[in-house]
Amino acid sequence: MSEILKVSDLHVYYGSIHAVKGVSFEVHEGEVVTLIGANGAGKSTVLNTISGLLHPKTGSVSFDGHDLKGIAAHNIVRRGLAQVPEGRHVFLHMTVEENLEMGAFTQPNSTIESGIADVYERFPRLKERHKQVAGTLSGGEQQMLAMGRALMSRPKLLMLDEPSMGLAPLLVEQIFGIIRELHQSGTTILLVEQNAAAALSVADRGYVLETGRIVTSGTGAELLASPAIKKAYLGG
């Protein structure tokens, strides 16, 4: 399988705070790869740097064979890299349908309708609420909308930042069910999660991030079985 994303020795600072200290990993086409770690480990910082919202001090991100250095966030999307941000960040004052249209901002107008139809097929709840303003949706529905919106750009790689955050267990299960479906339909996914058990159960491979460094990596099953991981992240 070919490499779609390669992150090499990434160092990111917030002012004088060294948040990411030399992170390297890669994602292959068709894989689900997860970055797990505690709050503040630097997971979101890594994603935001890949998508161009933050800029690394040193190190490189290469996507689909091209170095992303110096490319603005809004142009990275055009290359096929979509991110569902932490906390969903749907446009609360816009309708469900308008949110999806914004997701397709980089796409030719003629394909938007079929894109929306695809998203509605995957998320029937969104279709029921297509005229509703996103601010009136429940947390789980907003997460579905954020994922649907990202899929509208027909990404080669979908990055999900804490999709289970703040959701009831039943909804978490539903969201991870959707991630599994997306995986089966061939979507490449980079998943950042605090919910390590759920993330590792859907992931082909995983990396464990601690205070800005990758401390362990392995297949999802290996990490799930590892006593150290169990102790630190899976509650015994």
Partner: protein
């Protein structure tokens, strides 16, 4: 009754001028989260542009309309690029002070070029007064009212129905998320300044037709009143700016006619204070809390 209808019409017409200016304030605030206090002075520059184009260059009135819209739009984009863009990450107070600086800069440029003596705005078109049911209606008033209404309908359509308009709304709501959609935040802000300033150009034309005399400080008072109108309607809200502008114009005109010309401005600002005490977000201002 005749008096009442005439006051109503001129109030609506004055209000629609305020509304056009208030839209510039509110759109820029919505997207760049800043108060562009140089906005009123863009009107003044637009008015001088009209004078130069028709009175000095002898071009036809249509050219005055088209060119002053283009000049104001370019000026708005230039101000944003030179003065505000470098301050995108700066504290709000620095941006506010800069806006006030730009305002004085424009006024003094006008003073330098055109002098302190007021100049007459050219008669762009002769609109005859007409009589409806015994009431003499001022043609210019009706023209201002109708044109503003059309502009506002077009703007509302653009903002709500077109891809670019929706992208502007997206950016005003969440810049990082918009960038993740592939929207260029900088370009959206530039476009907002261009549209806001083009609306100011229309306001300058109506202002010139109504009040005729233009001087370097001409933009200050309508600017501050339109800002008041934007806050009144709920700053950041486009329908709010329209409603706020119209109401403010009506309150001002009715106060002038039925209470006192001297008290009119005090009443206008008094109403603003009252509205803000009762409803701090303005008439149509909104707040949706984030769900978790």
């Amino acid at each position: 009754m005749v008096h009442f209808i005439q006051t109503l019409l001129s109030g609506l017409s004055l209000g629609s001028i305020y509304a056009l200016i208030a839209l510039g304030y509110t759109m820029v605030y919505g997207i760049a989260k800043m108060l562009n206090f140089a906005h009123g002075d863009v009107i003044m520059i637009g008015a001088y542009a009209g004078i130069v184009i028709v009175a000095q260059l002898g071009m036809p009135p249509v050219a005055a309309i088209v060119l002053s819209v283009v000049i104001c739009a370019l000026l708005g984009m230039l101000i944003e690029y030179l003065a505000y863009k470098p301050l995108r990450q700066a504290p709000p107070l620095s941006v506010l002070i800069t806006a006030i600086g730009v305002s004085y800069f424009l006024q003094n440029i006008a003073l330098l070029i055109f002098g302190s003596q007021q100049k007459a705005y050219p008669t762009l078109f002769e609109v005859p007064d007409f009589t409806v049911g015994g009431v003499v209606v001022d043609g210019g008033t009706v023209l201002t009212l109708c044109t503003s209404a059309i502009i506002m309908v077009v703007l509302t359509f653009f903002i709500n129905k077109t891809k670019l308009g929706k992208a502007m709304r997206a950016v005003s709501e969440d810049k990082a998320a918009s960038a993740l959609m592939g929207i260029s935040v900088n370009r959206a802000i530039t476009l907002t300044f261009a549209i806001g300033s083009a609306l100011a150009a229309f306001a300058s034309i109506f202002y010139g037709i109504t009040y005729v005399y233009i001087k370097p400080t001409t933009g200050a008072m309508p600017g501050i009143k339109a800002f008041t109108a934007a806050v009144f309607g709920g700053i950041g809200s486009i329908p709010g700016a329209m409603l706020g502008g119209i109401l403010l114009g009506m309150i001002e005109q009715f106060s002038k006619t039925y209470i006192s010309t001297l008290w009119a401005d005090a009443i206008v600002f008094g109403v603003l204070v009252l509205v803000l005490v009762v409803k701090p977000t303005g008439l149509l201002g909104r707040k949706i809390s984030e769900k978790v």
